[in-house]
Symmetry: C2
Subunit: 403 residues, 2 copies
């Protein structure tokens, strides 16, 4: 059964359903009679600083409500543990009798867990380590998709469905910037906003392809000439042929996180850069840009039901694997029906610090759209349509004055 006390932590960027995984793990650990169920505040940072809470002393009623609340309830961290950091983690885990450690996070978090697991093995400390996947970027290897992505995709699709209607009412060019450093899945989800043949986004720019400013303005002009308006979805991670993010071409100073990544979110610079390029290189006067920013991963009330169920499942399954699989690993999601999912335990190395990007088959040959294969892949994940856009169909009145 479960070895020692259980400790659960949440790392990386929050999602709409990350607390479903937390609550699934907590409740299953309690059900399986774990000798203790602790949570670390702010991920691995809470471990090294011994900031732990006793999750055994939570009611199921409150846990269920927390599960419905977006963003890491235990707090998160961007710390990336190195060897010394991991040794500090051990001291705390050992002192508190922790024998089973769950870390809910993305590929950076799974890599941290991999290091902890290795250090545990070296130190001959029995420690069952299981990674619980989450990331709105949808960029974990092996997984069909990752918890958090479907809800963020629903937000992006709902946002583009709205701005497409807005742009249709007051025509012009609209650029929406979507999160995603290396993987374009979330930006691609903007295509789920389309219903009628001329609906936007009319152009979609993904980090899987090189971004060329001249081609961009030519694309925009062509789409505008065709539709009398143009809605564009662009990933914050779009980059030139050398891999340099387009946003850094404007930024005065470049901010990097603990993982050495250039900070892309939290600024409207890329949208402004792209709208300025359109204004300078075309004669289109009404050009607007928005950066969806943190709303994509935190907006209260925009969640995919399938995502909620699956995020809960990976938390529960992680505890079951820890109890009975006899090995460390990461819980992975596999598509086994249209639509149905199943969960497996893979080695931490299979996902740690690796990044999955979109298949070529999901990207249009022109480089500025997705294919029907992506729509088929993503559509079931956002679940029930919820709100949907409808148009008037009233026929034109015959002109009398011939205007």
């Amino acid at each position: 059964m479960l070895q020692g006390k259980v400790l659960i932590a949440q790392g990386g960027g929050p999602t709409a359903v990350i607390n479903q995984s937390l609550v699934g793990a907590v409740q299953e650990a309690r059900r399986l009679g774990a000798e203790g169920v602790y949570g670390a505040l702010h991920g691995v940072n809470g471990i090294v600083n011994e900031n732990l809470v006793d999750l055994a002393q939570e009611t199921d009623a409150n846990l269920e409500r927390v599960a419905q609340t977006p963003c890491s309830a235990l707090g998160s961290t961007r710390d990336k543990p190195d060897l010394a950091y991991c040794q500090e983690i051990f001291k705390v885990l050992k002192a508190h009798g922790i024998g089973t450690f769950f870390y809910i996070g993305g590929n950076d978090s799974s890599d941290a867990l991999r290091i902890v697991a290795e250090e545990a093995a070296k130190a001959d400390t029995p420690m069952r380590c299981v990674h619980i996947p989450k990331t709105i970027d949808n960029d974990l290897m092996v997984n069909d998709h990752t918890p958090g992505f479907p809800s963020a995709a629903k937000f992006v699709a709902s946002a583009f469905a709205g701005v497409n209607l807005d742009n249709r009412a007051l025509p012009g060019v609209y650029v929406g910037i979507v999160m995603g450093r290396h993987a374009g899945f979330l930006t691609a989800a903007s295509a789920l906003a389309r219903k009628y043949a001329d609906d936007g986004p009319h152009l979609i720019y993904l980090p899987e392809r090189t971004f060329d400013m001249d081609k961009f303005t030519t694309d925009v002009k062509a789409a505008y000439d065709k539709h009398g308006r143009c809605v564009i979805a662009a990933s914050e991670g779009i980059h030139d042929s050398e891999g340099t993010p387009i946003v850094t071409k404007l930024a005065k100073e470049v901010e990097k996180d603990a993982h050495g990544n250039v900070q892309l979110s939290g600024t409207g610079a890329l949208a402004d850069l792209l709208t300025d390029a359109i204004k300078s290189n075309t004669d289109i006067s009404r050009v607007r840009g928005d950066t969806f920013g943190y709303l994509q991963r935190s907006f209260l009330g925009c969640v995919s039901e399938i995502d909620q169920v699956e995020a809960r499942e990976v938390g529960v399954r992680a505890v079951q694997f820890a109890a009975w699989a006899g090995r460390d690993g990461t819980v992975t999601i596999h598509r086994v029906g249209d639509y149905a999912a199943d969960y497996r335990l893979n080695a931490l190395e299979d996902v740690a610090a690796k990044t999955k990007v979109m298949d070529d088959a999901m990207i249009d040959a022109g480089g500025a759209d997705v294919t029907p294969a992506f729509i088929d892949y993503a559509r079931p994940l956002i679940g029930a349509a919820g709100a949907e856009a409808f148009r008037l169909r009233a026929p034109a009145v015959d002109k009398i004055l011939g205007k």
Copy 2:
């Protein structure tokens, strides 16, 4: 009863419920046996260009679905009719036998309708003109509030509830820029996101008060020192003591619309300016800014039920007033219970081209927050809470290593 054929148009910025008003007016005009029910495409622009559609030839089933769809289904315009423009409008109205004209819009649109009504009187052309209110800015005189505001307020509150959770999980400073040129109601709605005592937004900057950059960075530092994090809501219309919008201090060129207003939305410049000021004047490293942009008025699936009902009501009541009140005017919303609303017909002059701003009693004396009076005013409008944020309450585990 209804005079001549009925024409309905939509002007200004779209809202989540503007089609409820359209459909209410169309169905009531049909029910009252109007000899024709036309719609103008893209507001007054569609009239002068004789781009009309025959709304009698719409099914109720489709109209009901359009009513649930955000953004002006007939299309909108920013055109501001002058005398010559109005003479063109008359030619078209007269040629098509229009005797009753409804314009759904804000204070700019109501002013356009006022000019049309005056020109009709001068030209001795019988023309019943009724304005149907809508604006997310909530800045129409006489009205307790305006259709479109409650849904946009719900979006802003949901967004801040989410970013507050995100900011709590990964502490730092977050600035969210909200629409609203002169009136701070929508920015103030961010306060509806608060539940627990230390929830953000911790600071709220409204266009009703002069914005001082030094006071701002001092406020931010104090809030950050107190909470270890800080969430800020700021109106896009914040300005210095001379009334100059703060955003123009950075913009290379200033874009103005047909009404002479400086373009504030569609750029992330203000958020970036404020986050840069915080980074330069404090030692806080994690500072992020988002501009909510067009999502506030168009996001598919975020709507207040009360707003939907009231937007429908003002459309229906406008037609009833046109049929039986015997005068032109604007439909106004009045609060007659806690919570209940009623509708009256006021003179067009009462709202045309005027702007209502927040009462002093709704603004905190410190100038960076709202009072409970605003919460009491706004809370009923966003309707059922829907999603709500909950926290873990697990007690701390006793430290063993004393870290």
